[in-house]
């Protein structure tokens, strides 16, 4: 049996995971840390974040305003104690990133600059041009290379959490290069695996965003919280779904319908282009339905127009957008409007975790997009997620380090048995499987299509019920998949099958959680229940795995401290 032992194990090598690993070392330099990532860390999807990271750094701004904006943006589903802790930590983390070399864009006096962003009442979104996630990820990854305590397992695919006596003691992972199954044990495990965007067809998310950590925790018995809350970003490029950053609007860009009208005046008159993402996406779909969208070969779209900003501003603040326009659309955004339409972008829901990232399973923590600590509620404000990865990645790293410093060692015996079981499961279900007629690609495409249709910007009971039936049928068909690749070396058909398995599972939690929430709040908009209903639904959904396809749903109260729920208008 093959296994390596650590004190803290981080699953995922994006911004939250690397920040957690460094925080764990800083908390206790004697700890041995493992980072298990299915891709080289600098490929993680943090790299695609563009607009910025929110933090109160200017004297005219305040923690209270950032907290209020976040809570109102969440449609009052955020846990307010978590938000209040977050806004205080975010500036410290942004400064820490600066000390590590992040090339934050600057004011003339050399201080870190900020830009306006949707739902934020003042400028507090720190940015590195329009490649903020790229620069943050490479900065934190390159910085992590100086810590000899951090041992990377690059291109290792985690298939299962090792849980014994209700304590998480590691993961089983496949080393993709050799095909070897490994138990990697640790006294504390942090899930930082990112989002699940690939359950949808039209998404900004990269191929690797398949909800792995959420599914791993769900299978281990942890609840998935508020999975009905799926963010649709207003501005994706048609066909590819490539993200056009909200910073385009932050810098003054206009959203125009086919009549050349800034239609947001009918929806968010006081904020216009700087309204929150859920409301703007709904406004765009409504305009499409009422015949005021442009028609193109890849569906309806609006124009995002920055021509009035001028070439100098565009090159200084939005150079990557100009590059994306030129390379992927064949336009120059200095001279041409950008075609955009709403696109699945971010998962508010995730692994149920408390303010330090601790899940109900001892030794298991979660941070970043895969986690739901209660920060984002029904709708995340743009630029809060990069800061969330820093603040709660660091918090989880510290908490895991503390746990690991006092926890007993992990025993070999149960781990060996668990590894043998998991190896057998994957060999029997996939690698040594004979026959089968269903293509992984076909099931995945149908799931993505069904999710777009049934759990999109607007939802209905009929649509969601149909979706649950479709997903159930796809799960049955998944049992009959065909695996053509029997190689042990870099078998990406095996990992695609494991990812599809994860995705089908988390999709079901989205569908059932959305079906049950009979109100409209944040990104969850029910045509049959168009109002927010605080009396009944000021609650978090928790979805627990059962033996059937249908999860067991439980509800917990939202923690309110200083901000009473009120009507959400902008």
């Amino acid at each position: 049996m093959d296994f390596e032992s650590y004190d803290v194990l981080v699953v995922g090598g994006g911004l939250a995971g690397i920040r957690a690993a460094i925080a764990a070392v800083d908390a206790n330099p004697r700890l041995k840390i493992a980072m298990v990532s299915k891709v080289y860390p600098m490929r993680s999807h943090t790299v695609s974040a563009e607009g910025g990271a929110a933090a109160v750094l200017r004297p005219e701004d305040s923690y209270e305003t950032h907290a209020f904006d976040t809570i109102k943006g969440s449609d009052y589903l955020a846990d307010q104690d978590v938000v209040e802790a977050f806004v205080r930590e975010a500036p410290i983390e942004v400064i820490q990133m600066e000390h590590w070399g992040c090339p934050w864009s600057r004011e003339p006096d050399g201080k870190i600059s900020a830009r306006p962003f949707g739902g934020m009442t003042t400028w507090r979104t720190c940015f590195a041009a329009d490649k903020t996630g790229f620069h943050m990820l490479h900065t934190v990854f390159q910085t992590s290379l100086k810590y000899s305590q951090i041992h990377r397992h690059d291109e290792a695919f985690a298939t299962k959490l090792l849980v014994e006596d209700s304590r998480c003691v590691g993961v089983v992972a496949i080393d993709m290069r050799s095909g070897r199954f490994q138990a990697i044990t640790a006294k504390a495990v942090i899930l930082a695996t990112g989002g699940l965007g690939r359950v949808y067809a039209f998404t900004t998310n990269g191929n690797i965003c398949t909800g792995d950590g959420m599914a791993l925790a769900y299978r281990a018995g942890v609840g998935l919280k508020d999975m009905e809350m799926v963010q649709f970003h207003p501005t994706g490029l048609p066909f590819t779904g490539i993200l056009i950053t909200e910073a385009v609007r932050g810098e003054g860009g206009y959203l125009l319908n086919k009549d050349g009208e800034r239609f947001l005046k009918r929806y968010v008159p006081n904020k216009m282009e700087l309204g929150p993402r859920d409301i703007i996406s709904r406004a765009m779909v409504t305009e499409f339905e009422e015949g005021r969208g442009f028609e193109g070969p890849h569906g309806k779209f609006m124009h995002l127009d920055v021509r009035h900003l001028g070439e100098e501003t565009i090159d200084a603040k939005l150079p990557f957008m100009r590059e994306l326009g030129r390379e992927f659309v064949g336009i120059d955004i200095v001279k041409d409007p950008i075609p955009v339409r709403p696109v699945m972008h971010y998962m508010m829901g995730g692994v149920d975790a408390d303010i330090s990232g601790a899940t109900p399973i001892a030794g298991l923590y979660a941070a970043g997009e895969c986690a739901n600590l209660g920060l984002n509620g029904g709708n995340r404000l743009g630029s809060n997620s990069l800061s969330e990865c820093l603040v709660f990645g660091a918090a989880a790293g510290r908490a895991a380090a503390e746990h690991a410093s006092s926890a007993g060692p992990v025993g070999a015996n149960p781990v060996s048995a668990l590894l043998a079981d998991e190896t057998r499961r994957i060999e029997a279900s996939f690698l040594d499987k004979k026959g089968g007629e269903e293509r992984i690609g076909t099931i995945r495409e149908e799931m993505q299509h069904d999710m777009d249709a049934g759990a999109g910007v607007f939802r209905t009971r009929d649509g969601l019920e149909k979706l649950t039936r479709q997903l159930g049928a796809l799960r049955d068909r998944f049992e009959k998949i065909k695996i053509e690749d029997s190689s042990r070396t870099f078998n990406t058909e095996l990992t695609a099958a494991l990812e599809l398995d994860f995705m089908l599972e988390v999709s079901e939690t989205i569908a059932y959680s959305a079906l049950a929430r009979e109100e409209s709040r944040g990104a969850h908009s029910r045509r049959d229940f168009p109002e927010r209903d605080d009396a009944k639904w000021l609650k978090h959904t928790l979805a627990f795995r059962t033996d059937s396809a249908e999860p067991r749903l439980e509800y917990t109260d939202v923690r309110i401290t200083n901000f009473k729920p009120e009507a959400r208008t902008y």
């Binding site: 891709v39 590590w100 600057r106 003339p108 390159q142 490539i242 076909t442 190689s487 870099f490």
Partner: protein
């Protein structure tokens, strides 16, 4: 009208059973003018042959995973448009100058070691406490190193570099560009610590200034310039003021 089709030839190699890489042909629909080479590979994997292996993720030219040789040229396949090749066939091979792990997947561990060897992090004699706030840095100071910070580690420059092809001990373009990125950062004082790696026998002096690295870079980084500038650093750092930032 008949459906437009295109032939894609890709490298197949499974070390478990193949002695040498070979090419396999796939005839697939070219259904949309927006299709890129990566879309063709994804079509093959989803609908024709699930065993084809390659890396990809963001499909927007920023994660750096999907670099391959397309008709002999190192490219990010996510922004290599099929329409630029059609009706010719397209041959997709793993990035040259690297060992092949499987099919189109290269072994890039060598780069990961080189990256670490140039100490790609801010080095200071005395770290500023967090409570002191940020280091002041002007946009002009950022412009000094900006382009070198845009490297996405996609490895196209190594595939294009004839020197690396002959001697993989050569530090090479991306690692040197990233060393330059830190050496030019006004917050950094680590030039002296990085120079031994840059100036040793496999460092910048190996470069014969072919310049292909800068030609193929999809992000407009100019590693050739970084290498030439670093050659200067290794000889003149005791006379140029920026070389002595730490003193």
């Amino acid at each position: 009208m008949a459906e437009k089709r295109i032939t894609i030839r890709t490298t197949r190699f499974d070390p478990d059973k193949d002695k040498a890489p070979r090419l396999q042909s796939y005839d697939i629909p070219f259904s949309d003018e927006s299709m890129v080479v990566l879309d063709a590979l994804n079509h093959i994997k989803a609908h024709v042959d699930g065993s084809l292996s390659y890396r990809w993720s963001c499909r927007m030219g920023i994660c750096g995973s999907c670099g391959m040789m397309v008709n002999g040229v190192p490219k990010l396949t996510c922004n290599a448009f099929m329409r630029d090749y059609w009706p010719r066939s397209i041959t997709v091979e793993p990035l040259q100058n690297f060992p092949i792990v499987r099919d189109l997947v290269i072994d890039m561990e060598d780069f990961m070691h080189k990256l670490k060897s140039i100490k790609p992090w801010i080095i200071r004699k005395q770290e500023l406490p967090l409570g002191a706030g940020e280091h002041r840095q002007t946009m002009d100071q950022i412009d000094e190193f900006r382009q070198f910070s845009e490297c996405i580690n996609c490895m196209l420059c190594y595939a294009a570099c004839p020197v690396y092809g002959l001697n993989n001990e050569f530090l090479g373009p991306a690692a040197t560009a990233l060393a330059r990125r830190y050496n030019l950062d006004s917050r950094d004082q680590g030039l002296k610590e990085r120079l031994p790696v840059l100036a040793n026998s496999e460092g910048v002096w190996e470069c014969s200034f072919v310049g292909e690295c800068s030609v193929v870079c999809p992000k407009g980084v100019d590693p050739a310039k970084a290498i030439q500038q670093t050659k200067l650093d290794t000889t003149t750092r005791f006379v140029l003021p920026y070389g002595n930032r730490d003193e």
